[in-house]
Symmetry: C2
Subunit: 557 residues, 2 copies
């Protein structure tokens, strides 16, 4: 295991993307190649698949994340390869990584070890340009807002209440809060403004939930950018921005096709935040994959409390998807941290801590089952794991009637997850899934949040001050009460306190703010400090990135 | 001629880009396709061509621009097609259009009528992502600067004197002047900042002048972002930004290959501003085209006073290119405006105004000849032109020993410029070109500017206040005196007054400011108000852009 991810990726023997397409019965003419190992898939072709039966959809989710790492993407890739290894026609669906974090702390996000998607450098940098298109479309709308105000403000936009910020795919704290339009009359009316990172853009969420170009344009038009002087919402449509935004996003809406190290098909498309957005890859990609493969393995952001909940309650509800099974990824190390152990000590055997941390796993198992989806636990094995620790997880899962299977895809590729694949097939073929979202559309927004908090987070109740309660009331009055809610809270705890690992209960979930994503069609419920523009660390990863004498990119992990 | 540019472009029968490559002896493996009608060309393949002889380089430049339009790009495309039509192996080299202006006033920039490059919508929107890559690389450096200051400012960067702004490929006046890093300690130290449009980025100029990945990285490292508290320059290299920036630009450095409506090869790569930068397509593209074709037709921005001068004195000097001939594009309409007629009256016959306006043409002819390059005038014909007006241009050109040839490529494609093509071949084959830049490297910066102003602009002298003169002295002292100068002045006049059309002389050229582009390796000499971030007009073109029922983009002209 002394090889780095990038060495392994470079040693891979990728097939031409044309061949990957052929393996899924995608004709070359409907693929738009980007180099010889990436392609976009034509929307007309996708439409032509409508009457084909769907494959089985498998969700990969995880326990509450810790600095020890869980390996959700790695497991998604490993399971996809394993399903192909045991003779199934399987594809995976992942989110596109954001450029910003690559230059900060995190490095790339394309799996790891022998469970990666390639071409790794491309996927981590510009890929097929989707995020750049989203950035452009988002900022075009921003420019049109200030331009409208500058030229006379016919719509009477209240410049103090413009909620549409600008975006950049960069970790840049200096842009979080700015004053714009300074420098005199030619530059417009100065106002407070700011930038979010592109993955936090509502345009990203819209692209990932849109089901056609027409639906995309409709949703873009529905975006609310702020209010007028009568406090009525002003939409992107009122600024005639939707057409040009859709034109900018026309190609970005096409799903991207790449491959795993084992030459199996991977759809990597869209990447909304998993806090202020729904955190899954695009509906277009998932639906396309389901028409072309018998098994589609996909992941959702963060732990199951955030990622799986939104996958089920937002994506599956809206796109009418019905998952056949779910894998909850756990590691011995992360369970120890959930059991109260510090990061520096996760490498030492501690069966008690594992057992204690399994309370977190148990809660996630219970939660995922509550959506009617059968569950298996995938243990992403590390070198330091001991047999006793692994046994503790198996026992803990068994207590909930769930099997926990040790996987070694990181070091062994698809065959390392063979057993997991067999179990997933068994669950999916059993027809045991009786998927239903957690709450009905007809429930009030407040009750929707309360249902999630009490039934999934173990909270006693939710609380909010008068101002926030008034927001709830206003959204109901304005006709947005039927929308699903998208909860933005810390990913590290079932509570709103990131320090509270394990499976806390009896807490109160405080709601700070509501934000309407009228185009994406959900109401964001903010419970805690949510960072929508990260900063770079003291020693940014960017400092180590370069190009070697062979013209290859170095330092991108 | 009732067909719009977009209708004509859509009716075209494009060849697969693979076939366009084959016609230039480029193997499929070294092309990175972007869809089926665009591709990038592998740098290793380009290196392998080094020992091949060069084709002949033809510059297309123009008289001083007016709102009547000249058609430089159209003529470049038409001439390229015409050379192929008469049996030569010819390619064209153009700049990539900027996304920002597409949504403002201007619409697209891919030629017009039957002299266009395709796929027109792609070229005008994201194309192969080069501008997005430049935006990212530029803004990564900006983020690293503020991040460095935030974390302790080890380099003692003077935050008041950071000259590296941020960029966006958008017309957005609200971003011209901002205050950044507001909102408390977590967001850094507030300072005055701003955005330029991406084409104004020094990274754009660097990409267009770089001769290899290594040279690119070196130049990126040389960028000066401001000074430290001791007023010493701080470079991108000091912030360890050059490696990551080069990684972001690795693919963008590869020239793009597309085709004309007549299926002839077109290299469209890079697009620096023609005022604060040198305004030509990339050295990589031009050099590659010269290895693969017998004739390479390229254009330079604005009129010959700015575009051709910089093409000769910056690009050809640095890249050791030797143009074989130049075409100066003129129109009857634009010459009338240079002769003092208002835009509203250019459609009416006025032989006297044409004759008067020919003073502008004559000055440009003299200027281009002063570089030792043989000249022909291409008259881009409009329907309203009369025989007497065309004759007036021919006579005027003949007085300078130059032929003026009427071209109808806009309505007839390549065969409409057949006569021009024959003349260009005759000039190029004659071996008459004795190209040399206007001034020696060894001349002082002040004398370089003075040479251009007096010999090309017809000025009596140049002037600058004490502060600016001190800047000249400082750059000489710091060792930048050997660099070429890049003059930023209005494109509408030989003087610095945009209202002064025709061929003014005896004026003084006032220098307001110097800016050092240490990575691009030229000194920008600012003479007048230069807009580096445009705004949108009252009725932006964006309002009309959309997608029709066939999924095609509408409203992009």
């Amino acid at each position: 295991m002394s090889n780095s991810d990038i060495d392994i990726a470079r040693a891979a023997k990728p097939l031409a993307i044309k061949k990957i397409g052929e393996n899924l019965d995608i004709p070359w003419e409907v693929l738009s190649p980007f180099g010889h190992s990436k392609a976009k898939i034509n929307l007309d072709f996708i439409n032509s698949l409508q009457d084909k039966p769907n494959g089985k959809l498998i969700l990969v989710t995880a326990i509450s994340p810790t600095p020890a790492g869980e390996g959700k993407t790695t497991t998604t890739v490993g399971l996809g390869d394993a399903l192909n290894y045991i003779g199934k026609k399987a594809a995976i669906c992942l989110r596109e990584p954001s450029l910003g974090p690559c230059f900060g702390m995190k490095g790339g996000a394309a799996g790891g070890g022998y469970a990666q998607v390639i071409p790794m450098e491309d996927i981590n940098l510009h890929f097929t340009g989707d995020f750049h298109a989203i950035t452009s479309a988002h900022n075009l709308l921003a420019a049109l807002i200030d331009n409208h105000i500058h030229w006379g403000n016919e719509l009477h936009i209240d410049a103090r209440r413009v909620t549409w910020k600008r975006v950049m795919d960069m970790n840049d704290r200096a842009l979080r809060n700015i004053v714009s339009s300074l420098g005199g009359a030619a530059n417009g009316y100065p106002r407070e403004d700011g930038f979010d990172i592109t993955v936090a853009s509502e345009v990203m969420a819209i692209l990932c939930l849109a089901t056609s170009l027409e639906d995309l344009r409709k949703r873009l038009g529905n975006i609310i950018i702020g209010v007028n002087r009568q406090k009525q919402p002003v939409r992107a449509r009122d600024l005639q921005a939707d057409g040009a935004m859709a034109a900018l996003l026309k190609d970005a809406l096409q799903p991207n096709l790449v491959q795993t190290l084992e030459n199996n098909p991977a759809f990597i498309h869209g990447g909304p935040f998993a806090n202020i957005a729904h955190g899954c890859n695009s509906v277009m990609a998932t639906k396309t994959a389901l028409k072309l493969a018998d098994y589609v393995v996909t992941e959702a952001g963060f732990g199951a409390d955030l990622g799986a909940e939104k996958f089920f309650d937002i994506k599956c509800r809206k796109a009418k998807l019905s998952p056949a099974a779910a894998v909850i990824v756990a590691t011995v190390r992360a369970l120890k941290m959930n059991g109260g152990i510090a990061f520096t000590e996760v490498g030492q055997e501690n069966v008690e801590a594992v057992k204690k941390g399994c309370a977190n796993l148990a809660r996630h198992i219970r939660n995922v089952k509550s959506f009617g989806v059968p569950v298996v636990v995938g243990i992403n094995r590390f070198n330091t794991d001991t047999d006793a620790e692994l046994a503790a997880i198996r026992e803990s899962a068994a207590a909930y009637g769930v099997e926990a299977i040790v996987c070694t895809h990181w070091s062994d590729g698809g065959k390392g997850a063979e057993q997991l694949a067999h179990k997933v097939v068994a669950l999916a073929e059993s027809g045991a899934s009786q998927f239903a979202p957690l709450y009905d559309d007809s429930l009030s927004l407040w009750q929707k949040v309360r249902t999630i908090a009490t039934q999934l987070y173990g909270a006693d109740d939710i609380i909010a001050d008068k101002k926030v309660r008034a927001e709830f009331a206003r959204f109901e009055e304005e006709g947005f009460g039927h929308l699903p809610v998208c909860i933005a809270k810390t990913q590290y705890s079932f509570s709103t306190d990131p320090q509270l690992r394990g499976a806390p209960s009896g807490h109160m979930v405080g709601i700070r703010e509501l934000r309407l994503a009228a185009g994406a069609e959900f109401v964001v419920v903010i419970c805690g400090d949510i960072m929508t523009m990260p900063g770079l660390p003291r020693l940014p990863a960017a400092n180590q990135i370069g190009i070697n004498a062979q013209g290859q990119i170095e330092g991108l992990f």
